[in-house]
């Protein structure tokens, strides 16, 4: 009895608080309403879809974990994961190294025209991915492209950038590197400029070498920024889609050498109309992103 009364009293209190603050709640509510409809509900719905078999026209059939059993045995799904990881690796590592170098160069005291440099380095990032994929598709064209022209002129064999297993990934990675290196350089530069000059001066007075300063001051203080760049690059890299789709098409090219996880999701759901199976892939993708974000966090966090 008393408990019920108390609960009623509590509920009354909550309502009074909401009424008292109805202005603020009303003004922030559009976000939460759109999130529930277009953010939360679809996530729950995707779990339900993943447990169903549906082609979008007939009846939806509950199949339990069958889609996931299929997924685990699906060679193309594993291939798409391996491809995505390889592309992520061969794009992220050079990108971070290059971005760090550019940031250090821009940060050195001599540089005039730094606004000019920053603008041109950032320019690729505001270019649409579709445009990047179309332009690089021509530069990396198998028979007459610019890269193959250079390769053959230098005496190497031309590479089939659409079908060669590593070739497709290099071409896709080149697009990612080009579009994101300048962006990350700007982020690193902002991080470098946040490190107070007095720290460097104090270290120099203590007789620290440039190498010591770099390893013991710059890198540790740059760690949060590095973590940001690694995590955003990982989340972006796991979602690679436009570049391979426009380079080799929905099939991922001959043998699926350019098949990424999201391209596979797109193909299964929107080319083959397998909504249930597509949703199972989406959940697999989500799990992989979570896992990698966690690993990134741990690795960067331990590098003291």
């Amino acid at each position: 009895m008393t408990q019920q009364k108390e609960m009623k009293k509590d509920r009354g209190k909550v309502w009074r608080e909401i009424k008292k603050n109805k202005g603020p709640y009303l003004l922030i509510s559009p976000f939460f309403i759109t999130f529930i409809i277009f953010g939360l509900f679809p996530v729950v719905f995707s779990v339900y879809l993943a447990l169903s078999s549906w082609d979008g026209i007939g009846d939806m059939e509950f199949v339990g974990l069958r889609n996931f059993e299929f997924l685990i045995k699906d060679a193309m799904f594993w291939k798409s994961i391996a491809n995505t990881l390889l592309i992520w690796f061969i794009s992220t590592v050079p990108m971070i190294v290059l971005a760090l170098i550019i940031a250090f160069l821009l940060n050195s005291a001599f540089v005039k025209f730094s606004e000019f440099y920053k603008t041109l380095y950032f320019l690729p990032n505001v270019t649409a991915i579709v445009a990047v994929a179309i332009i690089f598709g021509v530069i990396f064209a198998p028979s007459y492209g610019l890269i193959n022209y250079f390769l053959t002129t230098l005496g190497f064999d031309a590479i089939d950038w659409h079908n060669n297993s590593l070739g497709v990934k290099v071409a896709v990675a080149a697009m990612i590197i080009w579009r994101w290196t300048g962006y990350n350089a700007i982020i690193f530069l902002a991080g470098l400029q946040k490190i107070p000059e007095s720290l460097y001066e104090a270290a120099r007075i203590d007789g620290a070498s440039t190498k010591d300063i770099f390893l013991k001051i710059t890198i540790p203080l740059l760690k949060p920024v590095l973590l940001f760049v690694v995590i955003t690059s990982t989340i972006g890299g796991m979602q690679t889609f436009v570049e391979p789709q426009l380079l080799v098409g929905n099939s991922g090219g001959a043998g699926g050498e350019g098949m990424t996880i999201v391209l596979y999701l797109y193909q299964q759901a929107f080319v083959k109309n397998l909504y249930g199976y597509g949703s199972a892939i989406a959940i697999g993708l989500f799990a992989i992103i979570m896992l990698f974000s966690l690993i990134n966090w741990k690795v960067v966090d331990q590098k003291k």
Binding site: P30, F31, V43, L49, Y121, T127, V130, I135, G137, I186
Partner: protein, 273 residues
């Protein structure tokens, strides 16, 4: 020695700049020559005089002006709505106290971690149910309020809007919406400018979602139309390049005008995280 270092520094940076702008140069070369130039070994390195002929080919293949208009319209409407709703919420989170405020704000930030692809299929099915396929509602309504926008405006509003100003408005009998509209909005202009351009570019360049929800070619946005142009014309490289050039140039110009402030805001948004 110092002079030598300086030269080396500028040489390295200039080399990076060359790599950064080369694809644009190549785009111009391809768009101003005819397609046979792109099959030449060694390639033709200079601009040609075929640009206007190529433009005509683009216009014959896709409804370029229609797609440009669609893209402009969708990007503008979306941006206006995002600015309105996000700044309203960001202002409230920055300047008012109410129960659950911190939890709600952390929750807002956490929603940014959910990858959009997870809800791609359910969202498509919902759009079908709502009858929003081939409607720009599908592009505008789900992104009505941006979590990043709320975060961005809150950060700015905390420092920029003085409590005295709000108290004075309160004494004058202003309600919360009036405070937002007449006191906060004018002060928030610089933060709104960045958020607006950022959102405008995002909607303009978006590809996957418009590709899924827009079937009717007359409804296509530029990016979908460009991808189509590429698919239609595996051999007519010049026309595809010309379309790509025309479709990207508006945003490039916009960026060059605002680049200084835009770049510093991008860095600020990332570092404050």
């Amino acid at each position: 020695m110092k002079g030598f270092k300086k030269v080396l520094l500028h040489l390295s940076l200039s080399f990076g700049v060359l790599l950064s702008i080369f694809p644009f140069y190549w785009l111009f070369v391809m768009a101003t020559n005819d397609s046979s130039a792109s099959f030449k070994f060694p390639p033709k390195w200079t601009f040609g005089d075929q640009f206007f002929i190529n433009i005509q080919k683009v216009f014959a293949e896709i409804d370029f002006w229609g797609a440009l208009f669609n893209t402009f319209w969708v990007s503008t409407i979306s941006t206006i709505l995002v600015l309105f709703f996000s700044s309203m919420a960001g202002f409230v989170f920055a300047k008012f106290d109410f129960p659950g405020k911190n939890k709600l704000f952390v929750f807002t930030l956490a929603t940014m971690m959910i990858p959009a692809q997870l809800s791609l299929i359910p969202m498509f099915i919902m759009m079908q149910e709502f009858g929003w396929i081939d409607s720009y509602k599908a592009l505008i309504i789900p992104g009505l309020v941006s979590a990043f926008g709320i975060f961005w405006i809150k950060q700015y509003a905390e420092g920029a809007i003085h409590d005295d100003l709000l108290n004075a408005a309160r004494i004058d009998g202003c309600g919360i919406f009036k405070m937002y509209w007449s006191v906060a909005l004018p002060v928030l202009k610089p933060a709104l400018a960045f958020l607006g351009i950022f959102n405008f570019m995002g909607v303009w360049n978006d590809y996957l979602w418009p590709l899924i929800v827009l079937n009717d070619p007359s409804k296509h946005t530029l990016m979908v139309a460009l991808a189509n142009l590429k698919g239609l014309h595996q051999t007519d490289v010049a026309a595809t390049m010309t379309g790509t050039l025309l479709g990207t140039i508006p945003l490039i110009i916009l960026f060059l005008i605002v680049s200084r402030q835009f770049i510093s805001d991008i860095a600020a948004g990332a570092i404050k995280d």
